[in-house]
């Protein structure tokens, strides 16, 4: 039985049994899918949060409950729902989205939107009434007021975006179902993300390499968080 005497000594420096470019390509797919989905979610969520923060309408509490429930929606169920939608037999079947990055973006959009909306809403609701009144008193349009509120609530909104990103990039259930965890024969990922790659390694009992990929994922999320926080700080300095 082949035995590598070095590997057990350096569990984090194991000679990863991957083709060149494999890890980079799954990192790329992870980032591409999650960042796109979170960007779309943010574009959708912030107007919704502003609308809900500024206006009163019947059933508002109910909508809030729905959004809050969405934060806990199991990703596997979202994956199944998106699968039914994009499958050849589903309503979007003609677009041939099954086993593509686009299908993964749809499911992550569904997953990331509730936390981004809910946390943004909390941040926007938390902006002092006086700020809004002042903006209005200075003759601001509704858009001006909204921009002022977003600016005041930017840390909360950044937290919201990061929470959505965290949910998207760490999620494995739905991207596995709708993406199919595909790489080409030369080891370049098509729909394999870091999380589904970890799941694959774990399924094969390769816990060492699974852990290494897990570490890569953590570093990636840390980096993205650092960048977003940095942006926030620069924004406040330029004020």
């Amino acid at each position: 039985m082949p035995f590598d005497p070095v590997a057990p000594l350096f569990p984090l420096f194991v000679d990863l049994p991957f083709e060149q470019g494999y890890v980079r390509s799954i990192m790329y797919v992870s980032l591409y899918v999650s960042v796109t989905a979170v960007a779309l979610s943010t574009l959708f969520s912030i107007p919704v949060a502003l609308l809900m923060g500024f206006t009163e309408f019947p059933g508002k509490q109910f909508v809030k409950s729905v959004i809050n429930t969405g934060m806990g929606f199991p990703s596997v169920v979202v994956g199944l729902l998106v699968l039914f939608a994009v499958s050849n037999q589903g309503p979007l079947g003609a677009m041939n989205l099954i086993f593509t990055k686009e299908a993964m973006i749809i499911s992550q959009f569904v997953l990331a939107t509730p936390p981004i909306t809910a946390i943004s809403l909390a941040a926007i609701t938390g902006v002092d009434e006086n700020v809004r009144d002042a903006a209005r008193a200075l003759g601001g349009t509704r858009l001006d007021v909204a921009l002022v509120v977003i600016k005041e609530a930017r840390y909360g909104i950044a937290t919201a975006v990061l929470a959505g990103f965290g949910r998207a990039i760490s999620e494995v259930g739905s991207v596995l179902i709708v993406g199919g965890n595909i790489t080409s024969a030369d080891g370049i990922s098509k729909t394999r993300t870091l999380t589904t790659a970890i799941q694959l390694e774990a399924r094969q009992g390769q816990y060492d390499t699974a852990m290494v990929l897990g570490a890569v994922l953590v570093v990636l999320v840390l980096t993205v968080n650092a960048i977003v926080v940095r942006f926030g700080d620069e924004g406040s300095m330029n004020r």
Partner: protein
């Protein structure tokens, strides 16, 4: 930002992104390919089982096919049940699985056509070296299972409707034992994980030989009942079949390419590549598509014959 804009347009339902994407290409060129016989640039979606994918066999041999036809093979590894379900929904073009009963049902329902026997290996019953139930060297797999059940020794079942799980249930059935109780644990995981679960609990389990060989160096389980490759009982045989998705049921199935793939993988060259594929110095799969003798049963559901008026 350009990406985001692109996605946004895409989600608004503009088909441009779909045309640009590979998947879109496949299907579009598939549907208006009357003018050209070329399949180059298309993508074949193969749903298959974890045991063929996780052993690395497909990655090893697919390069040849992709180069020959200038196409891409998207291999999606699921349990046999899930692989067939994807095909049933028209989400794949060709299926490679290992549960003849489920394959036959798939064909009888009209979803699969042009089935070929592809290759085989075998199942083995593995367990801890100290073998608390005392099944080592038994000639009968069903007797071994009955013994495990009587001893109430821990047994890990895949429990995931995979080919291996189906085989295990058939074996219990043949043994006339209905497993149940604390000692019988369904994990609902892939073979590699199931082996790890069995390893941690010093339990017995049924494994395909390929996955067991590929993982043997990391676990303490040993083979206690051999399959037919090592002169064990024939009931532990593990044959793999391949089928195209019926374009009469799912018209968007890439039938041309699916048949090209079936033709290629059952050809002497690819069959040799399968037989040459080794892990830890051992052969994992034994080709059986190329044979001098006719084998009509590979094309039809088992037991089917035109005389029996069995539709």
């Amino acid at each position: 930002m350009p990406d985001m804009m692109q996605r946004r347009k895409f989600l608004q339902g503009v088909g441009l992104a779909a045309i640009a994407s590979t998947a879109g290409c496949t299907q579009l060129s598939g549907s208006d390919s009357e003018g050209s016989a070329s399949v180059a640039g298309e993508t074949l979606t193969l749903t298959t089982t974890t045991s063929t994918y996780d052993t690395g066999l497909l990655d090893e041999i697919h390069g040849d096919f992709e180069e020959m036809y200038g196409v891409t093979v998207d291999a999606v590894a699921r349990g046999t049940g899930a692989a067939l379900e994807s095909a049933r929904n028209g989400d794949s073009d060709v299926v490679m699985v290992h549960a003849r009963g489920l394959e036959d049902e798939f064909m009888r329902n009209g979803y699969g056509i042009n089935r070929r026997d592809l290759m085989f290996n075998d199942f083995v019953i593995v367990g801890p070296a100290d073998d608390p139930a005392g099944i080592e060297g038994m000639e009968s797999a069903t007797e071994a299972l009955t013994t495990i059940a009587e001893a109430e020794a821990t047994f890990v079942s895949r429990g995931d409707n995979s080919g291996t799980h189906t085989k295990e249930l058939n074996l219990w059935d043949a043994a006339g034992t209905d497993p149940g109780g604390d000692w019988y644990q369904e994990t609902g995981t892939g073979m590699g994980e199931a082996l790890n679960v069995a390893n941690q609990q010093s339990a017995y389990t049924l494994s395909d030989r390929g996955t067991f060989i590929s993982q043997r160096s990391e676990i303490d389980l040993t083979i206690l009942v051999q399959g037919p490759i090592e002169d064990g009982p024939g009931i532990l045989a593990n044959p793999y079949g391949i089928m195209a998705v019926n374009p009469g049921v799912h018209e968007n199935a890439n039938y041309d390419l699916a048949m090209a793939y079936i033709g290629w993988i059952t050809s002497p060259g690819a069959q040799d590549a399968i037989s040459d594929y080794q892990m830890n110095g051992e052969q994992l799969f034994y080709p059986e598509a190329v044979s001098e003798d006719p084998n009509f049963q590979q094309y039809v559901p088992e037991g089917w014959s035109s005389d029996s008026a069995d539709e």
